[in-house]
């Protein structure tokens, strides 16, 4: 039952994306990586000054315990100043997995310090404030991310490094399998990734994530990969998948994403 609900959700999301495609006519960029589109890796470059963009990543997640969760994260991203990006998102979850946080409002920002030089990487700082407007949420959480992007070999082969810090202002306790699991107050994640153009309108992104998971004592690693395709001058579609390594990470995730400037 739950599986069919999840599959139906994914199918609907895909149809939504395809249905929107012919209408799109705004500006996006296949090589400009945003977290969740389609992997969690982010590059050091913001959206252009004056840009407005609607994003809709849809992420299916299957846990080690066999729970299914679909995350829809409608996002409005814009460039209010030069080298600066702001975004507002409201993730909504469905499925039989843990839906805590569904409906929270997230306000994010990214500031880019420089474009990369011959030796110097592009550097950016990003952060997100999560307001507890959603399901089973309490306290305002925040996270910060330090981002480096550097190309090599005189080509568009790019390496990215994201170091992310998450703060949970009111860690809770959850019962699972007869055990009480305690949420972490602070946790870190490291993402190391690579992106490149594989065709005039398509780019590939692959990355490795090592993270402290939400509950104490759990560490996760995953390998993610995805494709981003520039559909027209204003729209990028993306698709990706991730496989968890070890016992704590999610078993599998799949993502479809749309970016549509207007």
């Amino acid at each position: 039952m739950n599986k069919s609900i999840t599959l139906r959700g994914l199918l609907l999301a895909a149809l939504c994306l395809l249905g929107l495609a012919p209408l799109a006519h705004a500006q996006s960029d296949q090589i400009n990586l945003d977290a969740g589109l389609p992997t969690r890796l982010e590059d050091a470059y913001p959206t252009a000054y004056g840009n407005r963009e609607l994003q809709l990543p849809v992420r299916y997640q299957r846990s080690r315990q066999g729970d299914n969760l679909v995350q829809y994260t409608p996002t409005l991203e814009f460039g209010p100043f030069r080298n600066t990006q702001l975004a507002v998102a409201v993730p909504v979850y469905s499925g039989n997995g843990d839906r805590s946080g569904s409906g929270n409002v997230q306000v994010s920002g990214l500031y880019n310090f420089n474009t990369e030089g011959k030796y110097l990487p592009a550097v950016a700082l990003a952060g997100t404030l999560t307001l507890p407007t959603g399901l089973r949420s309490a306290g305002t959480d925040y996270n910060g991310r330090f981002i480096l992007t550097k190309s090599f070999l005189g080509t568009l082969n790019r390496l990215h490094l994201n170091l992310a810090y998450f703060h949970n202002s009111q860690p809770g306790v959850q019962a699972e399998g007869g055990q009480l699991k305690e949420e972490r107050l602070d946790r870190f994640a490291l993402l190391v990734g690579y992106s490149t153009r594989i065709a005039p309108q398509s780019s590939l992104v692959v990355d490795f994530v090592r993270e402290q998971r939400r509950f104490r004592g759990e560490m996760g690693s995953s390998v993610e990969a995805g494709i981003r395709r520039q559909m027209n001058p204003r729209m990028v579609l993306s698709a990706g998948a991730a496989a968890g390594l070890g016992t704590d990470a999610d078993k599998f995730t799949a993502t479809l994403g749309l970016q549509h400037a207007f």
Binding site: H25, A26, Y45, K118, S151, L156, L163, P200, Q201, P233
Partner: protein, 445 residues
């Protein structure tokens, strides 16, 4: 603990990279497109033409890296291979979407980012103006109004990289690069790749003018653009232009409607050529090449007061049909060579005040060969400067003429004075009456 170590190592790596870098950091400063009811109209209405434009922009972006990463000794093969690659990209419609410069020129993006900001922003302006002409949501008698708005916002939103609205006659004199050691390198050493650029610079104005001829009605623009595209493959590629065609020659109606946009167009196209000259010159380091690129970008940028020169050009072919390719379009002589010749004549008294008539004749013969693509029998190899110096080793060079990033002020001032004397009092090119919409027959089924 591990995370702290990784954090420290990451920051250490960054600092090490910073200290090893001999290039300075530049801000990214990308600017989004200007919003209007016409956005993406050209893409939707003329997708086949957008594909060709994407091919030309592949040439423009990729060529930077090809030149910067190629040894001049390998030029013949590189030139032939790149020419074939561009033709394949254009003919076989490899991309439906016009690329940014960085997509195919990532190395140059790291060496001279401001060059790509300049080109991309001006390409966006051209996209805007094509869209306005293609959009049926913009009535014919409102085309100028929307184009003027696009020009105004183009100049205002990205001031340090916007191209000048003054004609190329003025901006080329400001840039004063004819006696720089790189000038004519690209056309002489990479003639096939250079002629790809000149095909592109024929195609762009031909498309504007085809839109001007056909009006807004369905079918007419489609037919006119198809005729231009067919002409390109059937005639223009087989007998490529031997010079950069200017907007005044091939898009006179559009240039009358929006001389600002037409001049921006010429100024960008000349910047492409100068950038390729600089990047193919091996006498300077990348840092010096960047200094010179940025000097040229600044010299040809919009400067307050440029508005008064906007309509100071002539229209040699006011009734031209862009669906035809007569001999005058293909030949080396035209508005561009006229500008170059004038500049040469303005500089010569400074550099060679006592030149004998027979030497002057030989000099001018060399000059004309250097202006044409490729190497001809009797042509001295190298730049125009190299040829002049070989013929007259005692030629006086102005301060700033040879150094990267420096402007030969005396030369520039003499040329601007020369333009003022020759053309300062010329009448403005007349505006175009946009109240009457032209119509053109649609394609036969």
């Amino acid at each position: 603990m591990a995370f702290k170590f990784i954090t420290g190592a990451g920051l250490g790596l960054l600092l090490a990279a910073c200290s090893a870098s001999h290039t300075t950091t530049e801000p990214r400063k990308e600017v989004s497109y200007i919003r209007g009811p016409y956005n993406a109209a050209f893409f939707r209405r003329h997708g086949e033409s957008e594909v060709l434009s994407a091919g030309f922009h592949f040439h423009h972006g990729r060529e930077h890296d090809v030149l910067l990463q190629t040894k001049l000794a390998d030029r013949e093969k590189v030139d032939a291979d790149f020419d074939a690659a561009v033709f394949d990209f254009v003919k076989n419609k490899k991309s439906k979407v016009g690329p940014s410069m960085e997509l195919f020129g990532p190395y140059t993006a790291r060496v001279a980012w401001k060059l790509f900001r300049t080109i991309d922003w001006t390409h966006q302006h051209h996209e805007q103006t094509y869209d306005i002409m293609a959009s049926q949501r913009v009535a014919w008698d409102k085309k100028k109004q929307w184009t003027d708005r696009a020009v105004k916002l183009y100049l205002a939103r990205n001031k340090d990289v916007a191209r000048s609205v003054a004609p190329l006659d003025i901006t080329m004199r400001r840039a004063a690069c004819m006696m720089k050691p790189y000038f004519t390198y690209y056309r002489n050493f990479y003639p096939k790749s250079n002629s790809q650029a000149w095909v592109a610079h024929w195609w762009h104005p031909a498309i504007y003018e085809a839109q001007m001829l056909s009006g807004n009605a369905s079918g007419g623009q489609e037919a006119a653009l198809k005729a231009v595209n067919d002409l390109m493959f059937n005639e223009v590629y087989k007998n490529r232009p031997q010079r950069m065609i200017l907007s005044r020659e091939l898009m006179p109606r559009y240039a009358r409607m929006s001389p600002e946009s037409a001049n921006i167009f010429d100024n960008l196209h000349m910047l492409h050529g100068l950038a390729y000259d600089i990047l193919s010159y091996e006498g300077w380091t990348e840092q010096q090449q960047r200094d010179e690129l940025y000097r040229v970008i600044d010299a040809m940028s919009y400067q307050p007061g440029d508005e008064k020169y906007v309509r100071k050009f002539d229209l040699p072919y006011p009734d031209v049909d862009p669906r035809q390719y007569p001999a005058w379009m293909a030949g080396p002589e035209g508005a561009m060579s006229k500008i170059m010749m004038e500049m040469m004549m303005e500089m010569m008294p400074l550099m060679m005040p006592d030149m004998a008539p027979d030497m002057k004749e030989k000099m001018m013969a060399q000059f004309q060969m250097k202006m044409r693509p490729g190497m001809e029998p009797g042509e001295i190899e190298g730049s125009l400067h190299d040829a002049m110096m070989k013929m007259m080793p005692g030629m006086k060079m102005m301060p700033g003429a040879l150094e990267p990033g420096k402007t030969p002020d005396m030369m520039r001032d003499a040329m601007l004075k020369g333009w003022q004397e020759k053309h300062g009092s010329m009448p403005d090119v007349p505006p175009l009456d946009m109240s009457q919409e032209p119509t053109l027959a649609p394609l036969a089924r």
